[in-house]
C-alpha cells in the first residue's frame, strides 16, 4: 500500500509569491496514494527536513514527494533527509515548481498554481511506482590524469602527487609550461614568470608520483568514474627519448626553418627543436612539416639527415610513428587552458596587416630577455625603439558583434603591467591606454593600476579606438576620449592590443571526447556556477584553470588545488558507490534478439546463455544481460527493446507512463 507524503515548499517568496502552496497541498490531499500533504516556508531548511522526517514516522509514510526547486539543486539533500529516518532514498521524488513554474510564470498565479498541482500529481503517480534501489559498488583505479601541462595542470598534478597518488600529465606540445612560460613578468608583483614557473616544472618532472606524457593527444575516453580507460596518441617525436641526452647538438646545424610559435612567430626556429631553452622534457622533436627530410620524402626523395649525423647518442629516429596506448585512471582533470583571440577580424585595427599592431602575448615575447629581441622593446617592422605606444583594451572581449560577449578578466591587469614595463625599459616612451572600464578586483590589483597611472605616468584614455592606419612609419590611432567628449588622434610607433582569452579551437571536440559540457563560447562548464566550480556533470572529471573560463595565474593555481582535493577525495576511496538507476533485463520477457547490444555506448550489454525449464525439459537460450557497473543509465536499450524486457530502474516504462497518464487525467 503506497503511503505518499507530499511537501510543498514556498522557498520563501520564490515559489510562495506566485504559487498558492497551501492550495496545492490541499488539491493533492485526496489524490490516490497520498497519505499526508502539507506546505512549509523552506523545505530544505533544518526545520523543514525535520518536518518531513517526523511526518514519515507519524504517518507511516513509505514514499515522499517534495515540490520545490530543481532536483538538480536539492534532490541529494532530500534523499539524504528521508534516508536518515530509514526510508530508501529512491522512494523520493521531486516536483520542480520553482525553476519550471513560479520563476517563469510571474504574475500568473492562478495558472502557475494549476501547473504546480499537475507537476505534483505527476510526481506522486511516479513515486507510487518507485522501487527500493540499492547503490552498487565499483573499484577505483588509484591514478589520475591531468590533461594539459600549463600552470594549472602542473599545480594540480603536484598537489595530487604530494597526497601520495600517481598522476600523469598529458601535454600536446613537446614541453610542459603552457602559456605562463611565454609570459615575461607576472602582475601585480612583476616577478619573473619563468623564475616561479620553472622550479614547478622541474618538481613535476622529477616527482616520483608524476609521469609526463608530452607531445601526445587525448584520443578517446571510455569507462566511468573511478575506472576510465583513456586512449592516448603519443605523436611521433622522431627522437628516441630513451637515448636522447638533451645536449642540443642536433639543433645547431638543422637547415629546416619554421615560424617559432613559442615566440609568436617573431623569429624562426629550426625543424628539430625544443620550444624554449628551459623546456621539460628538454629533448627535441622534429617538426615534420618543416623538416627537409620529411618534406623531401613526400616528393619521393630522401635528403638531409644532418641531425642524425650530428647526434652523438644516435637518438634520431625518422621512422617513428604515432603510437596509441590505453591507460587506466580513476579521475581526470581538464587543464587545457586558453588561446589568444585573433584580432585580425577587426578592420578598425587593420585586419592584422600592420606589423606594428601586436597582441599582448607578442609583447611578452618582445620584452623577454630570452625572446627574439633579447628583451629590447622594439617595433617588429624595423626594430626601432617606439617613442609612443598605444595600448587598446577589450580587443575581442565584451564585443558580441565581432568577438566575445564576456570580459576576459586578465587584460586590465596585464595591460597595466605591460605599460609599466614599457616605461621601465624605455623611460622616454609615452604610453597611452584606451579602455572601456578598468576592472581590478584582486589583491593589490587596484593599487598596481593606480601606480601605473600616478608613478609611471601612463595616460589612460576612456574610449574606444575607431581606426588605426599607417602613415609613413607611424600608426595613426584615432579614437574618442569619452570623458572629455573629444576626438583623439595619436601618432604611435607601436600599438599593443589586449586580446581576449578564448577557448582552444578544439575545446568542443575535446569536451565531446571526454563527455563533459561546454558553453556557447566553448569553455568547459562546471557542474554548478557557484557550488560546483571545479566539478563537471560527468562524475570523476574535474576542471582546473582557464579551460573553464578566463582566469589569471593566481585563480588558475587556486582552482588547480581545489580540483586536486576533489581528485584525492575520489582516489582515497577503495570502492565507489554507483548509481542503481541502471538498465535491467527481464529475462522472462527477453527473446535474446540482441538488437540492444550495439546500441549501448558503454558495451554494458552482452548476450548470455541461460537455462530454463520448458515443456518438462531444461532448455538453453540466450538473453541480454546488463553489466550494472558499466551501465550509466541512458535508456537507449529500453526503446530498442520491443518487448519491454529492458527497463531502466527509476525511470521505468511504468513510471513514465504513470506520469503521462497523471498529467493527461488532470486535463478534463
Amino acid at each position: 500500500m503506497e503511503r505518499v507524503g507530499v511537501f510543498i515548499c514556498h522557498c520563501g517568496s520564490n515559489i510562495g509569491a506566485v504559487v498558492d502552496c497551501a492550495r496545492v497541498a490541499e488539491a493533492v490531499r485526496n489524490y490516490p496514494g497520498v497519505a499526508y500533504s502539507t506546505d512549509y516556508k523552506y523545505m530544505c531548511s533544518e526545520p523543514g527536513q525535520e518536518m518531513i522526517q517526523n511526518a514519515i514516522k507519524e504517518h507511516n509514510l513509505n514514499r515522499v514527494v517534495v515540490a520545490s526547486c530543481s532536483p538538480r539543486m536539492h534532490e541529494k539533500t532530500f534523499r539524504a533527509c528521508v534516508e536518515k529516518v530509514g526510508m530508501n532514498p529512491y522512494m523520493f521524488e521531486m516536483a520542480n515548481i520553482r525553476e519550471h513554474c513560479s520563476w517563469v510564470h510571474a504574475g500568473k498565479n492562478e495558472e502557475a498554481t494549476e501547473k504546480a498541482i499537475d507537476l505534483v500529481k505527476m510526481a506522486v503517480s511516479k513515486v507510487c511506482k518507485n522501487e527500493v534501489l540499492q547503490k552498487g559498488h565499483a573499484p577505483v583505479t588509484k591514478r589520475a590524469l591531468v590533461v594539459g601541462g600549463g600552470i594549472a595542470g602542473i599545480q594540480c598534478a603536484l598537489d595530487i602527487a604530494n597526497n601520495g597518488y600517481q598522476v600523469d600529465i598529458l601535454e600536446r606540445t613537446p614541453s610542459i609550461g603552457g602559456k605562463m612560460s611565454q609570459i615575461d613578468k607576472t602582475f601585480p608583483t612583476i616577478d619573473c614568470s619563468a623564475c616561479i614557473l620553472t622550479p614547478k616544472m622541474v618538481e613535476a618532472s622529477s616527482h616520483p608520483n608524476i609521469k609526463l606524457i608530452t607531445f601526445a593527444e587525448l584520443e578517446k575516453v571510455e569507462g566511468y568514474v573511478g575506472n576510465f580507460d583513456v586512449t592516448i596518441r603519443s605523436k611521433a617525436r622522431s627522437v628516441d627519448m630513451s637515448k636522447c641526452t638533451g645536449c642540443g647538438t642536433c639543433m645547431t646545424k638543422c637547415p629546416g626553418k619554421a615560424d617559432d610559435e613559442f615566440n609568436m612567430k617573431l623569429r624562426k626556429r629550426t625543424a628539430i627543436y625544443t620550444p624554449f631553452p628551459q623546456a621539460i622534457p628538454n629533448k627535441p622533436v622534429i617538426d615534420r612539416e618543416s623538416c627537409l627530410k620529411f618534406k623531401s620524402r613526400k616528393e619521393g626523395k630522401d635528403v638531409c639527415g644532418i641531425c642524425a649525423k650530428m647526434c652523438p647518442a644516435g637518438a634520431i629516429d625518422y621512422e617513428q610513428e604515432d603510437e596509441l596506448f590505453v591507460e587506466k585512471y580513476g579521475a581526470i582533470v581538464m587543464a587545457t587552458g586558453y588561446e589568444q583571440f585573433d584580432h585580425s577580424v577587426y578592420g578598425e585595427y587593420g585586419y592584422g596587416k600592420y606589423p606594428d599592431v601586436i597582441s599582448g602575448l607578442h609583447f611578452e615575447r618582445l620584452v623577454n630577455a630570452s625572446g627574439p629581441t633579447q628583451g629590447h622593446i622594439v617595433r617588429p617592422s624595423d626594430h626601432k625603439e617606439p617613442k609612443t605606444v598605444v595600448m587598446v583594451k577589450c580587443v575581442g572581449s565584451r564585443d558580441p558583434e565581432h568577438g566575445k560577449s564576456y570580459c576576459s578578466r586578465t587584460c586590465c591587469m596585464y595591460t597595466a603591467k605591460q605599460a609599466t614595463m614599457i616605461r621601465d625599459h624605455c623611460p622616454d616612451t609615452k604610453v597611452y591606454v584606451f579602455y572601456m572600464d578598468v576592472r581590478t578586483p584582486g589583491k593589490l590589483y587596484d593599487e598596481f593600476y593606480n601606480r601605473t597611472r600616478e608613478e609611471y605616468g601612463v595616460d589612460y584614455i576612456r574610449g574606444r579606438v575607431s581606426k588605426i592606419y599607417q602613415e609613413g612609419e607611424q600608426l595613426i590611432v584615432k579614437g574618442e576620449d569619452t570623458l572629455l567628449g573629444q576626438q583623439v588622434e595619436i601618432a604611435a610607433d607601436l600599438v599593443i592590443l589586449a586580446n581576449a582569452m578564448i577557448p582552444n579551437p578544439d575545446s568542443e571536440k575535446m569536451a565531446q571526447t571526454v563527455g563533459i559540457g561546454y558553453d556557447k563560447d566553448g569553455w568547459f562548464t562546471e557542474s554548478h556556477p557557484k557550488l560546483g566550480p571545479v566539478e563537471t556533470h560527468t562524475a570523476g572529471v574535474f576542471l582546473a584553470g582557464a579551460c573553464q573560463g578566463p582566469k589569471d595565474i593566481p585563480d588558475s593555481v587556486a582552482q588547480a588545488g581545489a580540483a586536486a582535493v576533489k581528485v584525492c577525495a575520489l582516489l582515497s576511496k577503495d570502492q565507489l558507490e554507483t548509481e542503481p538507476t541502471v538498465s535491467v533485463v527481464d529475462t522472462k520477457l527477453c527473446s535474446g534478439c540482441g538488437l540492444c547490444v550495439p546500441v549501448c555506448p558503454y558495451k554494458a550489454i552482452t548476450l548470455e546463455t541461460i537455462q530454463e525449464r520448458k515443456g518438462g525439459k531444461t532448455v538453453e537460450r540466450q538473453v541480454a544481460n546488463v553489466n550494472s557497473s558499466l551501465c550509466q543509465g541512458c535508456g537507449a536499450c529500453t526503446v530498442t527493446c520491443r518487448s519491454g524486457s529492458a527497463n531502466l530502474k527509476h525511470f521505468t516504462n511504468a513510471q513514465i507512463l504513470a506520469e503521462v497518464d497523471a498529467l493527461c487525467q488532470t486535463m478534463q
Binding site: C590, C593, C596, S643, G644, A658
Partner: protein, 294 residues
C-alpha cells in the same frame, strides 16, 4: 508448376528417408481451391500431400521458431520472401540455422486468395498485393534450390500508395486511419504471422505492464498499429503476410511501407532480410544523419 511440385516431393522424400531431415514444412491443398495451407510432414509416405500452386502464399519460416529447442532437423520450402523472413529470424536469433534446411523455390507471384474467394471459379484472379511489388521472387539464400530463377518483375520499391496517403490533408488522413483501425478486432493475426514480430513476449500480451489495454477501439487499435509498425521498422521484409491474413482487410502494409520509404530517404536505401548479422536502421546511426531538430 507441376514439375516443381514433383521435385518438392522427391526432395522431401529423400530428406526424410535419408534422415537428413525429420520434418519437412511445405504446403498442402486446403478445403477451397484458393486455399493452400501449411503442412508438416514427418513421414516419407506423406510427401504426396505436398503441393505447389499459385496459392502457396503463406510464409513458413515463422514456424521454425517452434523448433528452436527441439531435436528436429527441419526442412522448409522457401520462396524469395520466405528466405528474407528466414534471414530476419536468424538475425533475431529466433531460429537455429544449424537445424534447418532451406530449400529455395523461385516464385512467379502468388494469387490473392481474398479476391479469389469472391471471384467466380475460372475467372482471372489478380496477384496478391505484396507479390505485385515483389523484388525478390528468387531465394536470397538457401541450402538447395529447386526450379530455375525467374526474372523479377519489379526492380524498385513502389511507394505510390503511400504517397497517395501523404498527399491527403490531415483530417482526411486521420479519418482514413480511424476508419481502417475501427475495423480491427485485435486478433493479432498480423503479429502472429509476421517474421519480424517474433518476440517471445509481445508487449500487447502484457496488459499489466501499463503499455496497452485490451480495449478494442479506434484509439487503442491505432496505438497497436503504429507501435507494431514501429517495432518492425527497418526489419520488415515486405512479405505482406500481415495484410494478407487480416480478417478486417486493414491495409497494414501501408504503415510498414511508410517507414520503409522514410528510412530509405532519410538514412539511405535499406533492404531488410538480406543478411543475418550487423545492425538495422534503428539500432544504428550516422553522425551525418539528417538534422531537423535544431
Amino acid at each position: 508448376m507441376s514439375n516443381i511440385q514433383n521435385e518438392m516431393r522427391a526432395v522431401a522424400k529423400e530428406l526424410l528417408e535419408s534422415g537428413k531431415a525429420t520434418v519437412v514444412l511445405g504446403w498442402e491443398k486446403g478445403t477451397m481451391p484458393y486455399d493452400s495451407t501449411p503442412v508438416m510432414i514427418r513421414s516419407a509416405a506423406d510427401v504426396d500431400k505436398l503441393i505447389w500452386d499459385e496459392y502457396c502464399l503463406q510464409n513458413l519460416s515463422t514456424y521454425l521458431i517452434d523448433f528452436i529447442n527441439t531435436e528436429d532437423k527441419v526442412a522448409i520450402f522457401a520462396k524469395g520472401c520466405d528466405t528474407r523472413a528466414y534471414n530476419r529470424l536468424v538475425h533475431d536469433r529466433r531460429i537455429n540455422p544449424k537445424n534447418s534446411i532451406v530449400i529455395g523455390v523461385p516464385c512467379s507471384g502468388m494469387k490473392n486468395p481474398k479476391v479469389a474467394a469472391k471471384t467466380p471459379e475460372g475467372a482471372e484472379v489478380p496477384m496478391a498485393n505484396a507479390c505485385k511489388e515483389c523484388r525478390y521472387p528468387n531465394p536470397v539464400a538457401c541450402d538447395q534450390k529447386i526450379g530455375s530463377d525467374v526474372t523479377p518483375w519489379c526492380t524498385a520499391k513502389d511507394f505510390s500508395d503511400v504517397e497517395a496517403i501523404e498527399a491527403m490533408d490531415a483530417d482526411a488522413k486521420a479519418a482514413f486511419w480511424k476508419e481502417q483501425y475501427s475495423k480491427c478486432i485485435r486478433c493479432y493475426a498480423c503479429r502472429n504471422i509476421c517474421p519480424a514480430c517474433n518476440c517471445t513476449n509481445c508487449i500487447f500480451d502484457q496488459s499489466a505492464s501499463g503499455w496497452c489495454s485490451k480495449d478494442v477501439n479506434a484509439s487503442e487499435n491505432q496505438f497497436y498499429g503504429v507501435t507494431r509498425a514501429f517495432h518492425v521498422a527497418g526489419r520488415c521484409i515486405e512479405c505482406g503476410q500481415c495484410e494478407a491474413v487480416c480478417p478486417s482487410d486493414i491495409p497494414i502494409m501501408l504503415m510498414n511501407k511508410k517507414f520503409i520509404k522514410d528510412i530509405d530517404t532519410l538514412f539511405g536505401n535499406y533492404e531488410a532480410g538480406l543478411v543475418t548479422e550487423g545492425t538495422t536502421p534503428l539500432n544504428s546511426y550516422q553522425v551525418a544523419d539528417p538534422e531537423e531538430f535544431m
